[in-house]
């Protein structure tokens, strides 16, 4: 749909061109541009929900396999009415914001070091490659001993989860900065710091921001793991409790909350991209 070329426009030009005996040249540009189709996403979403609800109501989907969306919505309403929603969201957002911010800042710093200094690259890159694939969930028992069962181990889990993807995105971004721009800066006699600040950082920003999208999603995934240990409140703790009680409506409600957090974060990063990457247009 979005890739269709435009046909209507050159019709009048062709008519005038034919009179003087010349071959009309149709306009071949256009296309390959995404049009924004606002209502499509909500429609797809609503259609899926409607089919799901109908399936549950008719008994085609067993209540043991999947609760009706209306039941999950009821669980959300319960959460809202008891005021627990804000307690859970507050606890989780605190862990997400602190863990992700620290992880990202450290990640950008280490990523820039690796991108800019050969010594850092030689020393740290193998370390990052070795530690990135270690599942943070497997380290949870160690985190309990190191950081306690309070907020420490939860924030640490998210911090470690977001640190490594940010490092990789950042140094990848630095590597991909247009060399000609750097050479140009050098021939204009810019200082090293100026080049880093005015050419390398903005040039690496697209990669860093798409790294943010990935690390934010990883942070949300790890939230459930982080809240396995001694969490009384939090969306992840709520989901785990629902699982233990086999309360599927609450389970789906909790998962929907995580999706919502994900959507909002993606939207915020989109805004940030528009602001920080305005130089691209």
């Amino acid at each position: 749909m979005s890739h269709d070329a435009t046909h209507e426009q050159p019709a009048t030009d062709a008519a005038t061109a034919n009179e003087s005996g010349q071959r009309p040249v149709p306009f071949r540009g256009g296309g390959f541009v995404h049009r924004s189709l606002g209502p499509v996403a909500p429609l797809v979403f609503l259609a899926i929900l409607a089919v799901w609800e109908l399936g549950s109501r008719s008994g085609f989907i067993s209540p043991i396999a999947l609760p009706a969306p209306s039941e999950a919505f009821g669980a959300l309403v319960d959460l809202f009415q008891t005021g627990m929603l804000w307690k859970h969201l507050g606890a989780s957002l605190y862990r997400l914001v602190v863990g992700w911010t620290l992880g990202s800042l450290l990640g950008i710093a280490v990523g820039l070091f690796i991108g800019l200094f050969s010594l850092a690259r030689a020393g740290l890159l193998p370390l990052v490659s070795a530690l990135f694939p270690v599942p943070k969930i497997a380290l949870l028992p160690l985190f309990i001993i190191w950081f306690g069962i309070g907020e420490g181990s939860k924030v640490a889990t998210i911090l470690f989860g977001t640190f490594f993807p940010t490092v990789i995105a950042t140094y990848g971004g630095v590597d991909n900065v247009d060399r000609n721009l750097i050479r140009m800066g050098q021939s204009f006699g810019m200082s090293w710091l100026s080049i880093v600040r005015k050419i390398i950082l903005p040039g690496a920003m697209p990669a860093i921001l798409s790294g943010f999208r990935i690390s934010a999603s990883i942070a949300i995934v790890l939230l459930v793991a982080a809240e396995m240990i001694g969490a009384e409140f939090g969306v992840g703790a709520y989901i785990l409790m629902a699982g233990a009680l086999f309360a599927l409506d609450q389970l789906i409600a909790g998962v929907a909350l995580l999706s919502l957090i994900g959507l909002i974060i993606a939207w915020l990063i989109g805004k940030l991209e528009k602001r920080l990457l305005s130089w691209r247009t």
Binding site: I64, I144, I145, M228, E232, A244, F246
Partner: protein
């Protein structure tokens, strides 16, 4: 040439497979029994090894689980026929949905046998937690919300006369995580079956401060359960399973709880249990662990209805299960003796 060889091979394989399956399937009902690697699951293991199930014309296949919750779900889905675990919120929720039923009792606290212990970390003990009454404003480790640990913590609070919210339960998901937290003093207290408690109090980090039997009357710790479908449509199969299991229970009690069985027979029974419990350790190491702290399992899988009702009421009062769950939905008392 190859085609013929293959076909002959296939036919051969098919006939052997048929011969292999035809004999037992014609004679006995094939069922799956869910077990956890705990000594409290020994009766099914003994009944299978000693042929009590065979005598009832049942062919048993064991399915191992890591936790009680997935076992309950597997029974609801029909992948497993019988299981034996503590009454959890998940179990009651599934019973409310009409897919599983409690049909008998298993592990029970009795006054004359050592039962579950209440433990405190050394740090908390030194800071003044000498008896369960001191647990007010202290943390207590549980696996998940609505687990038996959660119930025990609240029963302690009820009996000692402080508010349930004044004992801070910490969900840690898994028993090893609780043990690590208790040993490092990050939680103050926990309650657990005697064989694990005994191993912990031998070390310097953990101190025993009380017994669960002082706080919960006739605590029916674990129950036998099956799918509603089995309980209503295959009553005969359920009865035969319980008959076989009951013989296993008698042997288990005689060998490990009352110790009335000869040493030779007891050793044989420990050997059977060792195939599934502590199987990662050599027998001579596992032997004392299997024998230590065995708790009584009700003869004939008798069920303490009052205890189950008390637990159900607790779940309801905490809002952990739907209000509409009744004893009729949860328990089918037609199979075993109730008390």
């Amino acid at each position: 040439m190859t085609a013929i060889t293959r076909r002959t091979l296939g036919a051969l394989a098919l006939t052997t497979a048929l011969a292999g399956f035809a004999l037992p399937s014609a004679a006995a009902d094939k069922i799956n029994v869910g077990i956890l690697s705990l000594t409290s699951h020994s009766p099914s293991i003994i009944a299978e090894a000693k042929g009590y199930f065979d005598a009832q014309d049942i062919d048993v296949e064991f399915v191992s689980f890591q936790a009680a919750q997935p076992m309950a779900v597997a029974i609801a889905s029909g992948d497993v026929d019988f299981g034996m675990t503590a009454i959890s919120g998940g179990l009651i929720s599934l019973a409310d949905k009409g897919v599983i039923k409690v049909i008998g009792g298993a592990l029970q606290e009795t006054p004359e046998i050592d039962g579950q212990k209440i433990l405190a970390s050394k740090a908390a003990f030194d800071a003044g937690v000498k008896t369960p009454a001191d647990l007010k404003d202290h943390s207590f480790g549980i696996t998940t919300t609505g687990s038996s640990f959660h119930y025990m913590a609240h029963k302690i609070a009820d009996k000692e006369g402080f508010d349930r919210s004044e004992i801070h339960v910490k969900p840690l998901q898994k028993v090893p995580a609780i043990i690590a937290s208790l040993k490092s003093g990050q939680i103050d207290a926990w309650s657990i079956v005697p064989n694990i408690a005994g191993a912990l109090t031998k070390g310097p980090e953990v101190v025993e401060i009380g017994k669960i039997s002082d706080y919960v009357d006739d605590y029916q710790v674990t129950t036998v359960f099956t799918s509603t479908k089995n309980a209503t449509e295959k009553k005969d199969l359920v009865e035969r399973f319980l008959a076989g299991l009951s013989e296993g229970i008698s042997d288990y009690n005689a060998a490990l709880v009352d110790k009335t069985m000869s040493e030779e027979d007891t050793a044989a029974i420990v050997g059977m249990i060792h195939k599934y419990v502590y199987s990662d350790q050599p027998l001579d190491k596992a032997d004392p662990r299997i024998r230590a702290g065995a708790m009584r399992i009700n003869e004939g899988a008798a069920l303490s209805v009052a205890s189950v009702e008390d637990q159900l009421e607790w779940f309801k009062s905490e809002g952990l299960v739907p209000d509409g769950v009744t004893m009729e939905k949860l328990v089918d008392t037609s199979f075993v003796e109730t008390r």
